[in-house]
């Protein structure tokens, strides 16, 4: 329901999004943005209510996309809540990706989860230091993340603790280095 109503409002929002870059946001209320803000507030409220204020680092809208930045230690706990809580029910893992930010010294892992019951798509992400990058594995929460985590381990170099089968998936097993890290070079020794 909400997804469809969002789609029909693409055109006006496209214009306002351009305007907001130069003008203050109050000028024109963007229906798509307001809807997204509502979702963001509701879910943030639920997370804070269930797990406390300290698990979230940030909750923001990334171009109409509710996004939650979770503290690294509470990664598994938060995603489990999102998956199993009745009012959330994010049961469908859409995509997962790791991004290397050498300038900031961390690797960011983002997970897009969809709720089939509530028709909501949210992004949750967390950050881990680049050296000794380590995260709790979500592969028991969503079985579909098994290979995604292996891919992130292989290409970005994040170790997922508790993963049942953490091996390289794309590169050969004796390969050294992680190609999607920004300081990776094929010309290295």
């Amino acid at each position: 329901m909400t997804e469809e109503s969002k789609e029909t409002t693409v055109k006006p929002s496209a214009e306002t999004a351009v305007n907001t870059e130069t003008q203050p946001k109050e000028e024109q209320p963007d229906p798509k943005k307001e809807a997204a803000q509502k979702v963001l507030d509701r879910i943030r409220g639920l997370i804070v209510q269930e797990l406390g204020d300290h698990v979230l680092e940030d909750a923001l809208l990334m171009k109409h996309q509710p996004t939650f930045v979770v503290k690294r230690d509470h990664w598994l706990q938060t995603v489990q809540l999102l998956r199993h809580h009745d009012a959330l029910g994010f049961d469908y893992p859409e995509a997962m990706a790791g991004t290397d930010y050498p300038a900031n010294g961390y690797i960011e892992v983002i997970l897009y989860v969809y709720s089939m019951n509530h028709n909501e798509l949210i992004a949750v992400k967390t950050r881990t230091p680049r050296d000794n990058a380590e995260l709790q594995s979500l592969s028991y929460v969503y079985q579909g993340l098994n290979w995604e985590e292996r891919e992130i381990y292989d290409l970005v170099g994040v170790k997922f603790t508790g993963h049942p089968d953490l091996r390289r998936i794309m590169m050969p097993e004796d390969y050294e280095g992680h190609p999607l890290r920004k300081d990776f070079s094929v010309w290295k020794e």
């Binding site: 969503y142 079985q143 999607l180």
Partner: protein, 367 residues
């Protein structure tokens, strides 16, 4: 029976086994004829598309997307241009949207036809493959005429499409549709009712809805469980909301459902094409798009319904003309994950029947 000494056998299928799809390798632990454990080993076709993209401008990435799921390159094109347009808020002309839908649905039909042919070939039936190729060739020729290539089309651009339809192209599609319907009936006669085929696929390799969702399956592997989930309807993009079509779903989530849904979806795709060529508006095919595409800094995710399922593109931009990071959510890669649990405790003879029904393309799995 109890006194018989049995030994576990390790069987290596692939990566060049002619019965697998491309360069997939599966290591199987066999107990007699029963598969105890199956581990797919992938990466033989890994070209590092995501890494390469970080060094390419957005229009240069499009030909690389052609080579992911290389039998439905138009839909891959649509995925990348759709993602960039959504991120940059680019409006594209109506005619271009219609052309995208037409070529996309034609290509989806071609991809599904290839699945039907290859799946039957997997199961040892040679002749359907040839009939399928006769039909598919007609579609490939249509796409060749509009885009200039038979497989790697590189047809869509951010802001529209590269060419308008050549003169007489729509008339050729109108000629093709009755031919397709005739051939569709032929496949139905030749395959769907065949008792040998049915006994090899019905009730085999089935899984439930909850399992499918937990695995993140999309496309036909998800719909075969009876779950109505198609991005063309559920998160309608482009102009799909203007056409009247149905999302066929299965009931048991078995091989037969997955096979039959491919047939039914082709019929629906042709329905969309029929409506689109009747209602296509006049106008330009390329809208206003900056010559050098710079996505504003931020993170974006957009997906389209590819031939195999949800084909999503996640772009991290730092405001330059090249993506800082690009992740492609490849449906084949996600769908293939269910294989180990599906194959467990199955008969070795059903191995190919189950693997084939998931409909993977290794170009996409390995990216």
């Amino acid at each position: 029976m109890a006194e018989l000494r049995t030994e576990e056998m390790l069987l290596n299928v692939g990566p060049q086994h002619p019965s697998t799809h491309g360069v997939l390798r599966v290591v199987i632990k066999l107990d007699g004829e029963i598969i105890r454990e199956a581990t797919p080993v992938i990466g033989y076709l890994h070209r590092g598309t995501e890494k390469l993209s970080e060094d390419l401008q957005y229009q240069q990435i499009i030909p690389y997307f052609d080579r992911l799921d290389y039998i439905s390159a138009m839909l891959n094109n649509h995925a990348i241009v759709n993602a960039v347009e959504k991120a940059m808020d680019i409006e594209i002309p109506e005619r271009a949207e219609y052309l995208r839908v037409i070529v996309g649905e034609l290509n989806r039909t071609a991809a599904h036809l290839l699945f039907v042919g290859a799946y039957l070939l997997d199961l040892g039936a040679m002749s359907p493959f040839l009939y399928v190729f006769m039909t598919r060739e007609r579609i490939i020729e249509l796409l060749n005429e509009i885009s200039g290539a038979r497989l790697t089309y590189n047809y869509m651009r951010v802001g529209g499409v590269k060419y308008d339809a050549p003169p007489g192209w729509f008339a050729k599609i109108r000629e093709f549709i009755p031919y397709f319907k005739e051939m569709y009936q032929l496949f139905d006669d030749l395959i769907t009712g065949n008792e040998i085929f049915i006994s090899r696929v019905k009730g085999i390799g089935s899984y439930g809805q909850e399992e499918a969702i937990n695995y993140g399956l999309s496309g036909i592997p998800l719909r075969s469980t009876g779950f109505k989930w198609d991005l063309r309807k559920n998160k309608s993009y482009s102009v799909y909301d203007r056409f009247d079509f149905e999302i066929p779903v299965g009931t048991n989530g078995d091989n037969y459902d997955r096979y039959y849904l491919h047939l039914l979806e082709m019929e629906q795709s042709m329905r969309i094409v029929e409506q689109a060529i009747d209602s296509i508006p006049e106008g330009p095919v390329m809208g206003k798009a900056p010559k050098i595409l710079r996505i504003p800094a931020g993170e974006y995710y957009a997906a389209v319904e590819g031939a195999k399922g949800e084909l999503g593109v996640y772009i991290v931009s730092d405001g330059k003309d090249k993506p800082y990071r690009m992740k492609i959510r490849r449906p084949s890669f996600v769908n293939l994950q269910i294989i180990p649990s599906l194959l467990k405790d199955q008969n070795i003879a059903d191995f190919i029947a189950i693997l084939g029904s998931i409909d993977i393309v290794l170009g996409e799995v390995d990216a």
